[in-house]
């Protein structure tokens, strides 16, 4: 299977029914994408697939041929969203953070409060109570 991973063409050999989550973490060695539930309920495994936020724990590798995949690593080290999450303390344990940032990225510039709440409804956080996360995203977008 061949897809574009964080801007570079990548060929992988995992099985067709392997979850994209596992392919990214294990075969590609990119452990920034986290597994929280394995059933698409928590959003910790969120990546961008052709620009759209999806749960990578639900995507079979077979459906990624030629797709553009973006993981948290694809943002580099100094993206405005990453800075804002640090400055606003939008991350405590950090397990939800990569998913939060990628989903936020997919919402485009300056999402309204309603669009932010709706857009992040599939990303659960057990630590922050969400307000700091919203502040971080507002600060960065």
């Amino acid at each position: 299977m061949r897809f574009i991973l964080n801007g570079e063409e990548r060929e992988v050999r995992s099985a067709p029914l392997a979850r994209l989550l596992d392919v990214l973490r294990e075969e590609c060695g990119l452990t920034g994408t986290k597994e929280g539930c394995g059933e698409g309920e928590c959003g910790a495994c969120t990546v961008l697939l052709d620009g759209a936020a999806v749960c990578s724990c639900l995507v079979p590798l077979a459906q990624t041929e030629g797709a553009v995949v973006t993981t948290i690593e694809g943002l580099g080290d100094d993206h405005p969203l990453q800075r804002a999450f640090m400055d606003e303390v939008g991350a405590q344990c950090g397990i939800c953070t990569p998913g939060m940032i990628l989903t936020a990225l997919s919402l485009g510039p300056r999402p309204s409060p309603a669009k932010l709440r709706q857009g992040l409804a599939g990303n659960l956080c057990r630590c922050t109570g969400y307000e700091a996360i919203y502040r971080a995203i507002r600060a960065a977008t």
Partner: protein, 254 residues
């Protein structure tokens, strides 16, 4: 391929694949990948009929000008499926084929008398949506058929939709209702029986000018809710009646 290997399970957005596999409830082990078939994603108007490709995702339905104009309650339903990540992958064809009694788009399609278009090597056939389910998670789709589109005739009247779940997102419904009021009222309910239901008795009562109390009593005879993981029969019965009252009050002529 489906004709030759009938144990192949068609796979669209795959939002339920690993969930069922892990739960041991998925019978198939070999899958037919439908994800990259652009011809099944189209949303078009054919005369007065809205034709929605089976692979249209919830996100596509939400942003479609045609769906927003002609079937806004499908947009409402789609916005309440899971979260953004599920909406970006789940498809209307998958929701219909998966045949859960709690499927969020199902009452909408039932209330508007939609048509399911089935394609196979032998050609195409059309089945009324309100005839597609024969029992719990059972449909009339043959193993060699694919759902290719859902067709929705013009809807005359006000559309109404409400999903009651544990929370506003990422929840399977306890009760889900869709209604159309204009001429003869149409009411459909999910999560109160093994399949999505239309309520012919309740619809007739309302059309004949019964009081809403009488209509709710009729509704209670037409549903068969159970106690399960998510709710109780008693709660479902009560809330279904409340939803009928809300539907009737919200859509009353000004």
């Amino acid at each position: 391929m489906l004709r030759d290997e009938q144990s192949l399970v068609p796979l669209a957005g795959a939002t339920d694949l690993y969930v069922s596999l892990n739960a041991g409830t998925l019978e198939g082990r070999r899958f037919l990948n439908l994800w990259s078939l652009p011809s099944l994603r189209r949303i078009v108007l054919q005369g007065d009929t809205l034709s929605i490709g089976a692979l249209a995702t919830y996100s596509a339905l939400i942003t479609s000008r045609l769906v927003r104009a002609r079937l806004p309650m499908l947009v409402q339903a789609s916005r309440q499926v899971g979260g953004l990540q599920i909406q970006n992958r789940g498809t209307i064809g998958g929701n219909v084929a998966n045949a859960s009694p709690a499927g969020d788009t199902l009452p909408v399609l039932a209330a508007v008398d939609a048509i399911v278009v089935l394609g196979s090597a032998d050609g195409e056939r059309r089945v009324p949506f309100n005839g597609f389910y024969t029992g719990y998670r059972r449909t009339v789709r043959r193993p060699d058929e694919l759902i290719t589109a859902i067709e929705v005739p013009a809807v005359g009247g006000a559309q109404w939709f409400r999903k009651v779940g544990t929370r506003a997102a990422q929840a399977i419904s306890k009760v889900v209702m869709a209604g159309v009021r204009g001429g003869a009222p149409r009411v459909a309910l999910g999560s109160v029986a093994p399949v999505v239901l239309r309520l012919p008795g309740t619809e007739a009562a309302l059309a004949d000018g019964a009081t809403i109390d009488e209509a709710v009593r009729t509704l209670e005879t037409e549903i068969a809710p159970i106690d399960d993981l998510r709710s109780t029969a008693e709660y479902r019965r009560r809330v279904a009646g409340n939803l009928l009252r809300r539907f009737w009050a919200d859509t009353a002529p000004a």
